[in-house]
Amino acid sequence: MATAAKMKPTDYKSMREPIWCPGCGDFGTLNAFYQALSELEIEPHRLALISGIGCSSRLPYFVNAYCYHGVHGRALPTAMGVKLANPELTVIAAGGDGDAFSIGAGHIPHTVRRNPNITYIVMDNQVYGLTKGQIAPNSPTGMVTGTTPMGSLEAPINPVSMMIGFGATFVARGYAGNPKQLKDLYVKAIQHPGFAFIDVLSPCPTFNVNMTYQTLRPQVVDIPEDHDVTDRAAAFALSLHSAPQIGVFYQVDSVPYEKRIRDLRAKQVEYGGQPDLQALIHSYR
């Protein structure tokens, strides 16, 4: 994977300038991402970035890579298709909490149980940014937005508990205000041989005054050093804490889907013989 000349973080910038509002957490998210790519020395033409729709889903536009900006909520199955079609590529899906947990919610457990080697970055601002401020599935109960003028009535999703409930093999939370740690989490996630999920706290100062750098800074805490990342029940319990913990909650060994598919192909050849299409057709005599 290493290139001849070492890639600098700025080499991963595309020619397009981010269109986010000043102060948007996605800037921090993006910068940490550049850093991680550079540290991993991923060649841009072997990197595929897949996203849905939302402010955060614009991230691929700003990265020097093969990019795919699809429709709302379908980043995961798309990314899986890319990975299975060409396992040589480093495949990363990125998007917002609405894209991921609302309209895209149905795809998550299935991506988890297939476990393809892709990394999923969710920029979690607890609000719909692009559509100008409505509740997201992870907005706290009572939050006032355009669609909840008297406060929302629903309990928020806890993305981390949910992922551990699904049995994901890598679950972490990062924070756009801690770019160094965030970079490290990206590196670990991309290196994880399977589906890796990172929930990134990434404030939307324009539409969510409840979750800003100011409110987050005193709240976030690192996951205790003695937490056993291979203990699923412990990881689940940890995810229920009220203060947002950042770091890796859970990580276990896993065989990625594309590897299991490769093995299946070999098994079919063993069982059914070398591929010969004419012979296959002829067998329908």
Binding site: R16, P44, H45, R46, A48, I50, P60, Y61, N64, A65, Y66, C67, Y68, H69, G70, V71, R74, L76, P77, T78, A79, M80, G81, V82, K83, L84, A85, N86, E88, L89, G106, H107, P109, H110, R114, I261, L264, R265, Q268, V269, G272, G273, P275, L277, Q278, L280, I281, H282, Y284, R285
Partner: protein, 585 residues
């Protein structure tokens, strides 16, 4: 039914081997050089109960099903009760006397007891043995050589060991012998013209269902990624691909839903692979948003829609051609697509392969409109020769084009070279926002006009490229009537036209392979060059969908010959419409 064909029906308890008996019989007949066509009608419920198999055998090629039978083999009372009335005058019913009681039944046809169970037991067989007895019996009734059937069994049971094979063969032979006694003088087929059909020399044929042919056609065209979600009547495409594709280096994924299936196909296509999914009406509707994305991103992909009876869950195991308007117009906002419709099992193979070529050449989604009647029936078709299949691949940028590479370059054909991820210098973004030639979002009116024109221009290019191939048509000299049909109705239309010809009524026939974009030039020639005074549009739906599109484009006000009753047209129904149209001329 014309004399040279024989209709056979087998009925019995589900799981008793009715289907496998029928499948073996049809294969044997095909190998003997006959043409066969088989079909099944399933209940929408799972429940065990009655299973049945129907087949038509002929020494000539068969184009449509029939609804009256010459022979009925009833394994049990339920089958006898349900089907005895479908036997034509002069036909014959065979039944197992240990299972059936004819007392008090009013049966028109001749009845002949065949003690299947008893004979099977005599020769050491149990349940499967009984099927073999029936197989042998029917093979003789159909006038097949014993050896062809025996060879087939040998192939099939070789893996199961000597002993099982021997018992089965013994049952087969015993059945054949009984059949010889019962068959004297009865509707036996004349010898087929190409007795060596299944052999290594002569005309090579296979017996295959529309769905299997679709799957193999896809593999032949280079499809290496399939994702789908089970749905009647499309599931067996996914199942056939699962059985074979990995061996060819491909990937098959049963997804969580149709949306994920198509999304992953688009991902695979973006990564450079040929990808497809297969579904039916309800699933196709779920794919609408992503189909529109694919057209906007200009990604090749093939979507097989095996139409079934609608609306909504509708008649899920029955025949209807009612997804056409959705296939053509099922996008909010405006995008080009290509719709093709196979007219036979053979076309399920070849047209699916062509669909991939069209998708690759024009970087567009292509919908293949198959249907229930094609999906489930099996037919004798010429064995496709893999070496003759043309395979096209999407246009990739040259080295020079990779300098300052523009993914959506506006070209005279509308088609722009596309770099596959992994290509140095080809980095780009494939997006669903309106974009400029570089793929950057761009919302000006002039750019939107330009990109709309670029995308739709591909359909013009297609019309130029494929003028010769877009449709099959037969212009009959001096015909005052013309029939336009699409998809699986072709055979029935052809038979109806032949029936009309026998009555001295001349009818021309136009049957497009590409149903959208409409093959305008060809169709105009059909309408204008020949002296057609009245056009009949034949289709299996309630509202006249293809007719609607024809009326919008051409100055015709056709007679709409429609049927939406869950079963395909009988040729005689179309014939009746021809006679009426001729009388009204």
């Amino acid at each position: 039914m014309s004399d040279s064909s024989v209709m056979i029906r087998i009925g019995g308890e589900g799981g008793e081997g009715v289907i496998s008996t029928g499948e073996l019989l049809s294969k044997a007949a095909s190998r003997a050089g006959h043409s066969i066509m088989t079909y099944r009608i399933f209940p929408a419920e799972i429940k065990g109960g009655l299973a049945q198999f129907q087949m038509r055998l002929s020494d000539r090629s068969i184009r449509a099903i029939a609804t009256e039978f010459d022979h009925l083999m009833a394994f049990n009372q339920e089958a006898l009760d349900a089907f005895h009335e479908t036997v034509a005058d002069g036909g014959c019913i065979y039944y197992d006397p240990s299972e059936c009681d004819l007392e008090g039944m009013e049966i028109r046809a001749e009845t002949i007891p065949v003690p299947l169970n008893e004979i099977a037991k005599e020769h050491g067989g149990t349940n499967r043995g009984k099927n073999m007895v029936a197989l042998g019996f029917l093979a003789r009734i159909a006038g097949l050589d014993l050896s062809v059937t025996r060879d087939l069994l040998t192939e099939k049971f070789r893996r199961k060991g000597e002993k099982i094979l021997a018992v089965n063969i013994a049952c087969l032979e015993a059945g054949y012998e009984v059949g010889a006694e019962s068959s004297n003088g009865r509707a036996v087929l004349p010898s087929p013209p190409n007795g060596d059909g299944g052999g290594e020399n002569g005309r090579r044929t296979i017996v295959i269902s529309g769905n299997e042919a679709t799957a193999l056609g896809a593999i032949a065209a280079g499809c290496r990624y399939m994702a789908g979600y089970p749905i009647t009547p499309a599931s067996s495409i996914l199942e056939t691909m699962s059985r074979h594709l990995p061996r060819f280096g491909g990937t098959v994924v049963q997804c969580e839903d149709e949306i994920a299936a198509l999304a992953s196909c688009l991902g695979a296509s973006y990564a450079g692979q040929k990808a497809m999914t297969a579904t039916s009406g309800p699933g196709l509707m779920l794919m609408g948003e992503l189909m529109t994305l694919a057209s906007t991103q200009e990604l090749p992909v093939v979507v097989i829609d095996v139409q079934r009876g609608g609306p909504s869950t509708g008649l899920p195991t029955k025949q209807e051609q009612s997804d056409l308007k959705f296939a053509i117009y099922g996008s909010a906002g405006e995008v080009p697509r290509i719709i093709v419709a196979p007219a036979s099992v053979e076309e399920c193979f070849h047209l699916t392969a062509r669909a991939f070529n069209l998708a690759e050449r024009y970087q567009l989604p292509v919908i293949v409109l198959s249907d229930t009647s094609l999906a489930f029936r099996t037919e004798t078709i010429p064995e496709p020769d893999v070496s003759q299949i043309v395979v096209e691949n999407r246009l990739q940028p040259t080295k020079a084009e990779l300098v300052g590479y523009q993914r959506y370059r506006d070209t005279p054909t509308g088609v722009s070279p596309v770099a596959i991820p992994g290509t140095v210098g080809g980095i780009h973004i494939a997006g669903g926002l309106e974009h400029d030639e570089n793929g950057s979002p761009c919302y000006t009116g002039s750019n939107h006009n330009r990109m709309n024109a670029k995308r739709f221009r591909k359909l013009e290019t297609l019309r130029e490229d494929f003028d010769e191939w877009v449709a099959d048509f037969e212009i009959v000299e001096d015909a005052a009537l013309g029939i336009i049909g699409w998809g699986s109705t072709k055979g029935a239309i052809q038979e109806a036209i032949e029936m009309a010809a026998e009555r001295g009524i001349r009818v021309s026939h136009f049957h497009p392979r590409i149903v959208s974009p409409l093959p305008e030039k060809r169709l105009r020639r059909f309408l204008e060059e020949s002296p057609i005074r009245k056009v009949l549009v034949v289709e299996e739906n309630f509202t006249g969908q293809f007719s609607h599109f024809l009326k919008a484009k051409f100055d015709i006000r056709p007679v709409e010959v429609l049927k939406a009753e869950g079963v395909p047209f009988n040729p005689s129904e179309i014939f009746d419409a021809i006679v009426k149209a001729e009388a009204d001329l």
